[in-house]
Amino acid sequence: MKPSEQTLKVSIKSLYQDIRLSDEELADLRKQTAHTHNRKTYFTPFISTAVCLAVCLAVFYTFWQDSIQKRIVDNLMADVISNHLSHKELVYQTASVAELSRHFSYLGFLLSHSNYVDASIAGDLLGARPCLILNVSAAQLRYQLDEHHWATVFQVRYDKNIYGDIPDKHADKQALTRTQQGISVNIWREGDILFASAQPNL
């Protein structure tokens, strides 16, 4: 071994003997670490509580929205069935949808045959009369199915604020269906026109 040389171990130890944090740096490190730790432990219960609260609110909001939507659909179904069963006298008697459309121009849209109405309803169009669906002016078209049975197709301008989320057939969604009081009801929309059909559940 030359005079200027040492063993590798001793040389490495020498290399590291001056590698240290100063007293100031040590104190700083302790202070910073304590501050980080205290901040975490101080805020943790608040953060946990806030997260729990947010989750509860989100769940509650979802249930609340679902509950509102259900109530809207219930009321909608009730209006459709009530109007169908009341079987009031037709105001306009014609088999022409185009002619009916002129009478109902005040609704702000053209009446139409829906492509999605059950084929069994595409029977004899007898005519139409005005009605209300959730207090909104609508048209009620009546179809004769047989001697004793008829079907009704309602058309009204769709407003999400009034009718909530109604499936859009243009987006390939399934209609809402329900059978109540022996009447089979389908509700859907085609763009901004809401349709409802009612016919006896034979």
């Binding site: 040492q6 490495i12 944090l21």
Partner: protein
């Protein structure tokens, strides 16, 4: 709450320095490791010293993961037929200035191994336990370190 002595913090700092060879980065690593340690329940921590050093290493690995993937050389374990042990390093003599030059050329794995062996005086098995690196891999590293050091030591006059 766990209290660490200054000696332990200095040890953590030196270990971090062996890994990053940079004062500021080493301080950051020690801060992160110390903070992790404080989050542990001291009743469950049997060996705060060992845990702290492992935290230092893991923090370094996490921070440098991308760089490590790029630069890690595939290490083939050397068989038992070649005589390798830390004793082979102990017989090496070196000039301090040459070591300083050479130190910056070592990979972090080599610096770490040399630091733990020389400064902390760990055995190969203890180093293997701390770093989760197989004993064979460590012996391969010792072999390569020895070759590197001997090669540089032979040419040491060009550095002086």
């Amino acid at each position: 709450m766990i209290e660490l002595t200054n000696a332990l913090l200095q040890q953590a700092y030196r270990y971090a320095m062996s890994l990053v060879d940079n004062h500021e980065e080493a301080k950051d690593i020690v801060h992160a490791a110390y903070t992790k340690l404080l989050e542990k329940d001291d009743k469950l921590l049997e060996n705060p010293q060992g845990y702290l050093l492992r935290c230092v290493r893991n923090t370094f690995i996490d921070q440098k993961r991308a760089d490590i993937r790029r630069t890690t050389i595939f290490e083939q374990e050397v068989g038992d037929t070649i005589d390798i042990s830390v004793h082979t390093l102990e017989s090496i003599a070196i000039n301090q200035q040459v070591l300083v030059k050479l130190w910056s050329e070592f990979s972090f794995e080599e610096r770490e191994l040399l630091y733990l062996w020389a400064v902390e005086e760990y055995t190969v098995d203890e180093i293997s336990q701390l770093t989760d690196i197989p004993r064979g891999t460590l012996l391969s590293r010792i072999y390569r370190i020895r070759q590197k050091v001997e090669k540089k030591a032979l040419h040491q006059e060009t550095y002086l």
